[in-house]
């Protein structure tokens, strides 16, 4: 029961932090440079793990479908299944999990260190707002970066699927892409991208929230980092199901 109350209290605190970050960002003077810095630092620099994850996920998905469907004569549909699986589900979700682990833990460690070394207090004492300076640019950068990384993951994942499908099933690239084109609609792409916007928000806000609530010196920073990885991963997985349910109900 106590755990549930803590969960509710933290959820409320995250909601309040979100609202404060939103208004802080738009409060004059609007600062774009920190957002572009974070976009580079957190988003663009995550491209390599995104590409690697997506490539091998697309490849293994194609391998499993091609061999698994073969007894039923369905291996020709590998392209359809791989593209649908990547674009609607695995592209956004795995990208978010990987980037969440990298970026969310980074935010928690960085902000946590700033808290324990009194830098956050220093920001306040110098007349600035830590939420505007630290939280708003990070959350916004994640919200912008995740859909872009997801598009990258979708493309690379489908490409990985193509390579293995060509080898395992013996189809041509043209056949594969025709299947992909026939299968995927704009709704599928938007389904994945819409989820990635929420994922970006969760990664940014949870990393910052956990970092800002760090206590207990350097040991606390370590604990915050671990907590950020676990909390972000669980939130992403649970929210993925909830968001998918909503989007499927609305758009099919």
């Amino acid at each position: 029961m106590e755990g549930f109350i803590t969960l509710l209290r933290d959820a409320g605190a995250v909601a309040i932090l979100t609202v404060r970050a939103f208004f802080a960002f738009f409060k004059a003077p609007m600062e774009i440079t920190p957002v572009t810095y974070q976009l580079d630092h957190s988003g663009i620099r995550s491209w390599s793990i995104t590409v690697l994850t997506a490539l091998f996920t697309g490849m293994v998905l194609a391998l499993q479908f091609a061999t698994g469907l073969e007894p039923y004569g369905g291996s020709m549909y590998t392209g359809k299944l791989v593209s649908l699986g990547i674009v609607r589900e695995l592209g956004p979700t795995l990208t978010a999990l990987l980037v969440g682990g990298r970026v969310g833990s980074g935010f928690a460690a960085e902000l946590g260190s700033m808290v324990v070394s009194e830098q956050v207090d220093a920001i306040r004492s110098l007349g600035a707002d830590p939420i505007k300076k630290l939280v708003a640019p990070r959350v916004l950068a994640c919200i912008i970066a995740l859909p872009l990384l997801t598009i990258l993951a979708d493309g690379v994942g489908v490409f990985g699927g193509l390579l293995i499908t060509m080898r395992e099933v013996g189809v041509t690239a043209k056949f594969f892409f025709t299947q992909v084109k026939d299968t995927l609609g704009m709704v599928d792409l938007l389904h994945g991208l819409a989820k990635s916007v929420f994922f970006g928000y969760f990664i940014g806000i949870l990393g910052c929230f956990i970092g800002l609530n760090t206590t207990g010196g350097t040991e606390g920073v370590g604990q915050s980092t671990t907590k950020a990885v676990v909390t972000t991963a669980i939130t992403l997985l649970v929210s993925n199901y909830v968001l998918s349910t909503i989007f499927v109900a609305i758009y099919g």
Partner: protein, 264 residues
Amino acid sequence: MDERNSPSSPPTREPLIEFTGVKKRFGPKVIYEDATLSIYPGETITILGGSGTGKSVLIKMLIGLLRADAGSIKAFGHEVTTMNEAQLLSVRTRIAMLFQSGALFDSLTVEQNIKYPLREHAWGTDAQMKARVEEVLEMVGMPGSQKLKPAELSGGMRKRVGLARAIAIQPEVILYDEPTTGLDPVNVRRINGLILSLQAKLGVTSIVVTHDMDSCFTVTDRIAMLYDKRIAFVGTADETETCTIPYVREFIRGGRGVLSEDVV
């Protein structure tokens, strides 16, 4: 006011800062039950107390970094405890704080660190800010260190840059949180010298939180001692030296390396 809290010669001016009946607790741990203290313009007052007695908490409550649970804290005649973050801005432009570790921003250079408050308060043009950075670095004895990163600085240098950042926007009050803790004797003397010279040059009011007795007697006009969750004693350096209250004597003797009879 507590009957033990009886400054024999308080300045006759109106207090600049007043703590009245302040209460503060963190969870079950009570830090202050009834803290009352007046601080007068232009004086240097040292707040003494053992580790964990909440010395830093008191000055953090003054600029709203921590909130008092009850009681009144007035700065420049305005009640701080009821101010929101936007209102606290006016207090924070007049009261600067030197944090224990300097609290420099790791990702910024010394120059960018000192420009930080100047930018926030739209202090002037870039050239004016640059000149101000040079000026305050000169004041703290670190000219030419603009391009260094905090990681390249020693503990004493970090504190001096932190002090330069604190005085950049010309505050009326400077709060020093353990300014000499963790420093070697040369740096301790240097920081104490800075506190004294800033006091002389800028005429600021200084509140120094420390458990370093030697520093305390070097820089201070008055001493306030925390004991039993309240400001239990306030007096001049001489009054503190000759004070007969047991815990004050004990603290002073302990702080100066004299073992008490109990310990012996």
